[in-house]
Amino acid sequence: MVRYEGKTVVNLEVNGELHQLAVRPSDLLLDVLREQLGLTGAKPGCKNGDCGACTILMDGWPVKSCLVLAVEAEGHRLLTVEGLGGNAPVQQAFVEANAFQCGYCTPGFLMVCYGLLMQHPTLPEEYVVEEWLQSNLCRCTSYREIRKAVKQMYQKK
C-alpha cells in the first residue's frame, strides 16, 4: 500500500517525459505543473472545477487539474497544452477560426478539443461536441468561433 506523509518524491509522466518531483500529498496537480515544472499553459481560473481553464488530459481524457492531487497522477499519462507542440491541427484550427479573444481559456479549450479528437476520431454528432465544450467557459464569449474551430480541426487531422 502506498502511504505518503509530508513531502514525498513522486514520478509523474508529463508530455512523454518522466519527472521526479517532491510534493505534499495535498498539493494540487495544477500547482505542481505550473510551479515545479514551469508548465504554465494550464491556467488557474476558478480553481473550483467550474471554468475548465486548467484542463489537461490524463490517459487521454480531460480532467480539471485543480481537482486532482499530484500524488494521484502517478502512473498516469499527463498531457498539457505544451505537449501539443504548438502546431497541432487543433491549434492551427483555433488560429484560423479566431477562436479566442483574451486567450486565457484557450489552453483548456484546446485540451478538451484534443481529447474529443482522441476519443472520437471522426466528427461526432453535434450534441456530443456541445457536451464536451460545455465543460469550459470563455468569458470573451468566443463560443461560435470555437465551434467552428472544432469542425476545422476534424478537417485538418
Partner: protein, 279 residues
C-alpha cells in the same frame, strides 16, 4: 491550494483500505475515503473539511469492476460517471450520470462519490432506487451485500469505516422503458431544481425524485397514486404532489411552491408519455 497537509494512502486491497481507516482513526487523523476527489478537494480548499488523511480507493480491483453477467450489472464504486455512461449498459443511469456536473468532471466524479458525498442531490441514486439495486460494502464485518434501500434513505447510512465497493443492478431493469428529466434554475449544467427518473417495469410506473425535497426519494404511496387506473391523469398528479415525503425544498434557486409546480409539470409530461406507450 489546500492550506494544510494530510496523509495520502492508496491501498491495493479492501482489507488494507479498512485497516488503514481504523489505524488512522485510532491515531486521530480524521480519515476520509477518497475516490474522484472533486468534493473533498473543493471542500478542503474552502476550509469546510479538514481531513488528516485520505484513503484513495481507486487502486482496489473490486472497486473498479464494470461487468455484466447473466443476472446483474456490477458497477465498482470508483467507476467514473463517464465510464458508466459510455458503457451504455444501463441507459437510465447513463442519463443521470450525463446530467451531473459537466463532461470533464464526469471523467473524475465516481459513482460511489456521488452516492456517498455530502452534496444533497445524489442523482445517481434515482435509477438505483427504481431498479431494486443492491450494494456490496466492506467494513468491520468484511464483505456484505444488501439491498440499496437498506443503507440509503436519501443518504448513505454506512457503519463507521465501512465503504461502498460495488453496486449491482438486476438485468431486468437495465433495458426497461425509462424517463429522465432534470430541470435547473437556468443553466443546463447546474444542481437540479427538480430531477425525476422513472422506470416502467412489470406494467407499473416507478418514480424517484431529487432536488424537490431536502433529500432524494422514491415513495410507494406516490407511486400507488400515479398508477391508480381509477383516477384521471390530473387527479393522479394532484394527489401525488400532495404526498411528498418531506416539505419541498425552499432556497434561492427556487421556492418550495415553484419546485412543486415544476414537479407537477414533469409528472404531467411523464403520464402523457405513459399514455402514449411504455415511455
Amino acid at each position: 491550494m489546500i492550506p494544510f497537509d494530510f496523509i495520502y494512502c492508496r491501498p491495493d486491497t479492501m482489507e488494507d483500505a479498512y485497516q488503514a481507516f481504523v489505524q488512522l482513526q485510532t491515531e486521530g487523523k480524521n480519515p476520509y475515503y477518497y475516490a474522484g476527489g472533486s468534493e473533498i478537494i473543493t471542500m478542503a480548499r474552502a476550509g469546510s473539511i479538514r481531513p488528516g488523511a485520505v484513503i484513495d480507493l481507486k487502486q482496489i480491483p473490486q472497486c473498479r469492476v464494470l461487468s455484466l453477467d447473466s443476472e446483474e450489472l456490477h458497477l465498482g464504486s470508483v467507476c467514473t460517471l463517464n465510464e458508466v455512461k459510455e458503457s451504455k449498459l444501463f441507459p437510465l443511469l447513463a442519463l443521470a450520470c450525463g446530467r451531473i456536473a459537466d463532461h470533464t468532471n464526469q471523467c473524475r466524479i465516481t459513482l460511489g462519490g456521488n452516492l456517498c458525498g455530502t452534496i444533497r442531490y445524489r442523482e445517481t441514486c434515482l435509477p438505483l432506487l427504481l431498479a431494486d439495486a443492491s450494494v456490496t460494502l466492506f467494513g468491520r464485518q468484511g464483505l456484505r451485500t444488501v439491498p440499496f434501500t437498506s443503507v440509503f434513505d436519501g443518504r448513505m447510512r454506512l457503519d463507521a469505516g465501512e465503504f461502498l465497493v460495488q453496486v449491482h443492478v438486476p438485468r431486468k431493469a437495465l433495458q426497461a422503458p425509462h424517463y429522465h428529466i432534470k430541470q435547473t434554475a437556468s443553466e443546463k449544467i447546474d444542481y437540479p431544481m427538480v430531477t425525476v427518473a422513472a422506470l416502467w417495469q412489470d406494467h407499473f410506473l416507478r418514480v424517484a425524485c431529487s432536488g424537490l425535497c431536502a433529500e432524494p426519494f422514491r415513495s410507494a404511496e406516490m407511486e400507488a397514486v400515479l398508477n391508480a387506473q381509477n383516477l384521471s391523469g390530473a387527479d393522479r398528479v394532484r394527489k401525488a404532489v400532495e404526498l411528498l415525503p418531506q416539505p419541498a425544498y425552499d432556497d434561492v434557486e427556487g421556492s418550495a411552491e415553484y419546485r412543486k409546480f415544476v414537479f407537477q409539470t414533469i409528472l404531467e409530461a411523464l403520464l402523457e408519455e405513459v399514455t402514449h406507450g411504455p415511455l
